[in-house]
Symmetry: C2
Subunit: 447 residues, 2 copies
Amino acid sequence: MIPDEGLRVAVIGGGAGGMATASRIKRLKPEWVVDVFERTNYVSHAPCGIPFYLSGLVESIDDLCAYDVNYFRERRGVNVHVNSEVIEIRDGELDVYEKGERKTYEWDRLVFATGSRGKGLDIGCESLEGVVCLGNIDEAPAVKETAGRYDRIVVVGSGYIGVEIADALSREKKITVIEQGNHPLPSYDPEIAEVLMRFMSRKVNLRINEHVVEIEGKDRVEKVITDRGEYEADLVIVAVGVMPNVELAREFGIKTGKTGAIKVNEFLETSREGVYAVGDCAETRNIITGKPDWIPLAAPANKMGYVAGSNIAGNEMVFPGALRCQLTSFYDMEIGKAGLSEREALKAGFDAVSVTITSRSRASYIPGGGNITVKMVADSESRRVLGIQAIGAGVAKRIYASAALLYKEACVEDFFFTDFPFYPPKSPVWDPLVISARNMFRKLDIS
Amino acid sequence: MIPDEGLRVAVIGGGAGGMATASRIKRLKPEWVVDVFERTNYVSHAPCGIPFYLSGLVESIDDLCAYDVNYFRERRGVNVHVNSEVIEIRDGELDVYEKGERKTYEWDRLVFATGSRGKGLDIGCESLEGVVCLGNIDEAPAVKETAGRYDRIVVVGSGYIGVEIADALSREKKITVIEQGNHPLPSYDPEIAEVLMRFMSRKVNLRINEHVVEIEGKDRVEKVITDRGEYEADLVIVAVGVMPNVELAREFGIKTGKTGAIKVNEFLETSREGVYAVGDCAETRNIITGKPDWIPLAAPANKMGYVAGSNIAGNEMVFPGALRCQLTSFYDMEIGKAGLSEREALKAGFDAVSVTITSRSRASYIPGGGNITVKMVADSESRRVLGIQAIGAGVAKRIYASAALLYKEACVEDFFFTDFPFYPPKSPVWDPLVISARNMFRKLDIS
C-alpha cells in the first residue's frame, strides 16, 4: 500500500486525454501535485479542429484549444509545462527539456498521453518545403499561410482528415485528392463511400487507385508523381493516416500491443504498475469485437482521461471501450459511421450480412428535405447489429442513436422498436434506421 | 384452430395504425381480403402535419398523407373504403354508412384503429362559428382559410400542437396563447419549459395560469373570457389535448383500461379473441414504468400496426411499448423529450433525482453554435435513467440517442460511456448528454 498523501503524478502530453486525466486527479485529490509536460505551446487541443481553421471558419489557432494553459493552472491547479519535451524516464523521475533547459521531476504515478502523429509517405520527400503532414496543431498556421499564397494544392489520402481538408480548401482553390484505394473514406463500404465519391468528384480532382511514387521539386515542391500521372503542386498535404507516439514508452519498457499502441488493462494501466496510458497513444477495447483495438479519437481520449484519473486517485472505474464512432461532412453532405463496416465485420470473423436503403430524412411533405442512405451490418446468427454507416441529410441523429444502440449491444429488433420521435421537419414517421431494421428482418427471415 | 385461407379482416380507421396493419397483413397473406373503413376522405394521415399546412410550408392537405388511397388499393391490394363510417359491429359482421348508403361487411378478424380526437373545453362553445378543435385533418382547410381572413387568433392550450400552431401562425398574425398551467408544454419540467416560455413570450401574447371560462359571440366568435382577462378573437383554436375514440369498441363489448383507451395484451389483441386495437385508440406499455399507458403518437401507431398485422397473419410478434418520445420546435428553438419528466417519475413512484445543465451544442470554436439545456432524470437507487428533456440547438440527435438508451433500459454510466462522435460543427468533445451523466455521477456519488 503506497501512501496516497502528497503523491506526485506526471502526465506526458497535454492533449485531450492528458488534460482530462490531470483535471480528474486534481478534482479528486486537490492536495496532489500533477505535472503535465506538453511539447508544443498548446494544451487541450485536438487536431480535428484544424480543417475549420484552414477554411477560415475558425480565425485563430488558439480558439481550437478547449481551454488555455492559464485555465488549467489557475482554475484546476495543474502544473502545466508547455514547450517541454520529456527525454528520459527512470523509475520515479523523468528528465525534460523545458524551454531549452534540462530539468528533472519526480513522479509516483506516470501517465502516457503522448498522442499520435501523421504517417509519412515513406518516399523520402517529407523534408521538401511545401510538403506537410498535418497532424500537429503547431504546423497549421504555416500551412494556412502557404495555402493562401499558392493555387495548386494536392491532398494525399482521403480519410476523414483528407476529406475535411479538401472541403475546407476547395471552396477557393483547385484541389487534387489522391487516394490509393478505390473510393474516398477507406473505412467505409462502397455503398456509402461511392455516394460521396460521385459528389466529391464535382468539387475536386479526385484520383482513386493511384499511388504516389515521388514528390519532386528544387527549392520547394513542384509536382507529385503517381503510378498513373503527374500533378503540379505548390503545396502537398499528406493525410494518409496516423500512428501512435509510443517511442518514449517503449524506451521505458512499457509493452505495446498488436495494434502498435500501448497495451492497457480495463483500468487503463500499462504493463508497469502505477503507469497509465490514455488517448491516441493507447489501445482500447473495441465494443463490437470485444478485442483490443486502436481508436485514436478525441471523444474516447477524454473519457479515458476521466477513467485513468479516477483510477489513479483511487476511485476504481472500468473503461468499457469505444465504437470508432465518427461524423464528418463534405459541403452539405453529412457522413457518419458507428461500429464496423461489412468488410471490417467479415475480417473480424462475424457472419455478417447487410442491407442498404435510401429514404427521406424527414417527412416527405416538408419541402427541401434530402435523402439519406443507410447501410446496416448485422451478424446473421445472433442478429446483433455490428455497424451503421450513413450519408446524406440528417446523418448526425442516426449516428448518435446507433452509437447508443451499439454500445448497448443491440440487435436488429431493437433498431426496429426504439421509439424514435416523429417530427415532420426533422424525421419521417418510419425512420431510416427503422426501415433498415425492417429490411434486415426480411433478410434474416425474422417475422 | 381457425383455417387461415381466405380470411377476411376489417380495419376500422385508415390513419397510420390502420393502414400499417392492413399493409402488413396483405404482405404476409396476399390472398386474404382486407377492408379498411375510413370516415374521412383521407388515409395514412397524421394530424402532426397540420401545423405545417397552416404555416404554408406544406401547400396542399393531400400532401400530408404519406400515401394516397390508390396506392393502397393498387399497390398493396387493400380494399380502402373512404367516407365510410362504421355504425354497428356484430360478431362476424359490421354495418357501414358508405357514401350515404348502409352496407354490411363480414369479418373474421377485426382491428380498431379509430384514433383520437381533440378534447373540447366543456363550456358549451364548440358549436360557435370560429371555434375549432384541430384534431381532424378534414377541418384543416377551413381553419387555414379563416386564419388567413382574420387577425385576432387565440390558441387555447400549449401542448405540442398548441406550440406548433402558435409558431405557424405568429409569423404573420397577432396570436394569444392561453395556458392553464404555469408554463407551456405541460408534460415538461419547469427547467426546460421556462426556457421556451421566455422566448415564446417575445413572439406571442402568452397567458399562463389562466382558465377559459367562456367564449362569446353572436353570429361567430368575438371574445374569449378567462378567469383573469378578456381577449378579442376572430378565430379560437382549442388544443387542450386529445382523447381516444373508443365508443364503437365499448359498444361491441371491448374493454378499455384505466387510461380510457382500449386495453390490449403484448400482441395487441383486445379483450375479445381475434379483435385487435392499434394506434391512438389503444393502450400500450410505457417502457420506463413497465405499466399500461396511453401514448397517442404516429411513430408507435405505425409499429403497432406492423405488429398487430404480423400477429393477425400468424407471425407472432410482441410489441414492447413506447417511450412517448417527441420533438418539436418554436422558431429556431428545438425542444424534445424521451421518457419521463421528473414530475412524472415521482408520480410513477420512482425515487427520482435530476440534473440540469446548459452547454454548447457543438465545439465552442465553431461560430454561430447555440446552447442546449438538458435535464436528466434518474432513479437514485437503480441509477437507471428515466427521462431526458432538452431545449435549444442540436436537440434532435440527443433525443434520438436518449430514445435508444432508454429503450435499452440504460443507466447513468451508459449515458456517460456511449461513444458519441465528436465532430466540431455538430457536437462538442464532451457531449451534453455525457456532461449530464457526469453531473449525475456526482449527485449519486458514483466514482
